[in-house]
């Protein structure tokens, strides 16, 4: 089993998703089933193949170094669950 309890919890930590104890088994089963399914790719020979990360054949377009909107503070804070003095507020972080 690739996705045993320990691996699942570690993966959950990495993805910042807490996984409840009673979900571990069924989730592990699902993920194992998916992993088994995608594992069939291992049979395909790809030694000489370049990877494709985007199918669009075009060079990267760029913009000029021009400032457009100066103040979107209201816009970007509009949906904030918690804010104070135009700061986003989160539970205390210790470095």
């Amino acid at each position: 089993m690739e996705f045993d309890k320990k691996n699942l919890l570690k993966l959950g930590k990495l993805a910042r998703i807490s996984i409840k104890d009673d979900k571990l088994d069924s989730l592990g089963e699902d993920l194992n089933s998916i992993l088994k399914f995608v594992d069939q790719l291992q049979e395909i020979k790809t030694d000489q193949v370049d990877p494709t990360s985007n199918s669009l054949e075009q060079k990267l377009l760029s913009r000029e170094d021009i400032v457009e909107k100066i103040n979107e503070a209201e816009d970007v804070l509009e949906n904030a669950p918690e804010q104070e003095m135009n700061f986003y507020v989160v539970p205390k972080v210790i470095e």
């Binding site: 930590k13 990267l60 913009r63 970007v76 003095m85 700061f87 989160v90 470095e95």
Partner: protein, 476 residues
């Protein structure tokens, strides 16, 4: 080297690109704006927002790459570096991993008695993160995204440095090059340029030690003392039979110590992968060549030229060129004047005033033109060097033009022999007994006569002429 321990130091410099707008958004990059006032929807990672690259930032990275003698890669890839942090809105940083825009390069730094070449691994473009304020509230952290998305160049050195001094000189040199290129303002206090320093210790013939990374050092002083502290800490650990853990540490500027970062709850796994929102960045050969052609004279070249053209010593030249504005100031003053005099005045008098006032040469109260005028008065003999210092002080205070000060205070030197002779005669006439003593062998009294004449002339008598006349009269 401490006892028989070697120090091995590698440095990652994060240099903010000097640009109007951010790397992937059109928000401004000004420092010190009110919280979240220069944050676009893209910087705040609102749903559905997409990055569009700033072509000027790309150009700045290429210019910087050329400045550090590095290979410019015609094709580079933007990757996502995935991790969660409150000041990283996307949940990933757009950076470059396997295919950076700039490859291997090097710079030369000065060491005690010669030069040393420090290898550079790469330079890549990435987004800066926002800022967190931890001290506003006991229970909460405040987040400001103004800095989020500003273009950063990460310059990674090889572990080629072996002392705090070398490390500092390396950062100084990189900073100087970037400032010459105008690709980064190099303002360390504001965090436009910061360094992560990797330190390890080992003994001759032994394998490299385990390294620790000290994050976010933003002054030369901190770089130096953090390395000193960290290397001692590691040596002490090993000497007492313990081992050094590879970890990220913070430098506490108050205690001067480094400490382990507590937030490293789980080992990072950044899951880098090519950003599917951005296609590969492809640079045309011709475009790169064109940029190369327009690279300004850099510190090393300028130094060589100053040594050659102005016969500066290696040391003086290094001092003068290390800062672009200083070198420009120097060159403006030295044109048509005696280099020795200019060097003494710029690196001596001017520097000491700037240091005292803690200001940069751009803010110097004495412009290059005014400095030139002052030195012209010395060279022409109109004023003495000593008087010039007084005038310079006055210039610094009032910002007045030296000629004006000389005129206003009637300070111009008396070089007319007839006029000086009158003063000499006056002094001699009122001191017959001292003349007697002098003639009887107490020649030290010459100084007394000089002083008296100077007093009478309010310090303006040309000392050469005065000496010559006095001697002539006394020795006859």
């Amino acid at each position: 080297m401490i006892n028989d321990w070697n120090l091995v130091i590698g440095i990652e410099i994060h240099a903010q690109v000097k640009s109007n707008s951010k790397l992937f958004s059109s928000s401004p990059t000004d420092f010190g704006s009110s919280p979240n006032s220069q944050v676009s929807l893209i910087d705040a990672a609102m749903p559905g927002m997409l990055p569009v690259i700033n072509s000027y930032c790309v150009e700045q990275a290429v210019r910087s790459g050329i400045g550090i003698n590095a290979k410019i890669n015609e094709k580079s890839i933007f990757d996502r570096k995935n991790y969660f942090y409150q000041d990283l809105p996307q949940g990933y940083q757009i950076s470059q991993y396997k295919d950076p825009i700039v490859g291997e390069g090097y710079i030369d730094i000065e060491t005690e008695n010669n030069q040393k070449r420090i290898g550079i691994e790469r330079l890549h473009l990435e987004q800066d993160a926002g800022k967190s304020l931890h001290d506003q509230d006991p229970k909460y952290t405040f987040v400001d995204l103004n800095r989020s998305g500003i273009a950063l160049m990460e310059i990674v050195s090889k572990p080629d440095m072996n002392s705090p001094k070398e490390a500092v000189n390396y950062v100084r040199k990189v900073r100087s090059i970037l400032r010459y290129l105008d690709t980064c303002d190099g303002n360390m206090e504001q965090g436009s340029l910061r360094a992560d320093v990797n330190v390890s210790v080992n003994k001759d013939g032994e394998a490299l030690g385990t390294r620790c990374e000290i994050k976010n050092l933003n002054s030369f002083k901190h770089i130096s003392s953090a390395i000193v502290y960290e290397s001692k800490r590691q040596i002490k650990l090993i000497d007492s039979g313990k081992r050094v853990d590879q970890e990220t540490r913070l430098y506490d500027i108050n205690s001067g110590e480094t400490r382990s970062m507590r937030s490293k709850e789980d080992a990072h796994d950044y899951r880098y992968f090519p950003d599917p929102d951005l296609l590969p960045l492809v640079l045309e050969k011709e475009w790169i060549e064109n940029i190369k052609k327009n690279i300004p004279e850099l510190p090393d070249e300028k130094k060589a030229r100053f040594v050659k053209e102005y016969s500066l010593s290696n040391y003086d030249a290094e001092v003068v060129v290390s800062d672009k504005a200083t070198s420009e100031y120097y060159e403006a003053v030295v044109k048509g004047r005696a280099p020795k005099l200019v060097t003494t005045w710029v690196t001596g008098e001017l520097f000491s005033v700037l240091n005292k006032k803690n200001i940069s040469i751009q803010d110097s109260p004495v412009s290059a033109d005014m400095m030139g005028e002052l030195l012209d008065n010395i060279e022409s003999g109109k004023i003495s060097n000593r008087l010039a210092k007084d005038i310079f002080e006055d210039m610094c205070e009032t910002g007045k033009n030296p000629n004006l000060i000389i005129e206003e205070k009637g300070l111009s030197q008396i070089s007319d022999e007839g006029e000086i002779e009158k003063l000499v005669d006056e002094v001699l006439n009122s001191n017959p007994e001292n003349i007697e003593k002098y003639k009887n062998g107490k020649t030290k009294l010459l100084g007394f006569f000089v002083g008296e004449v100077m007093k009478l002339s309010k310090g303006k008598a040309n000392p050469g002429t005065l000496n010559k006349l006095l001697k002539k009269k006394l020795d006859n």
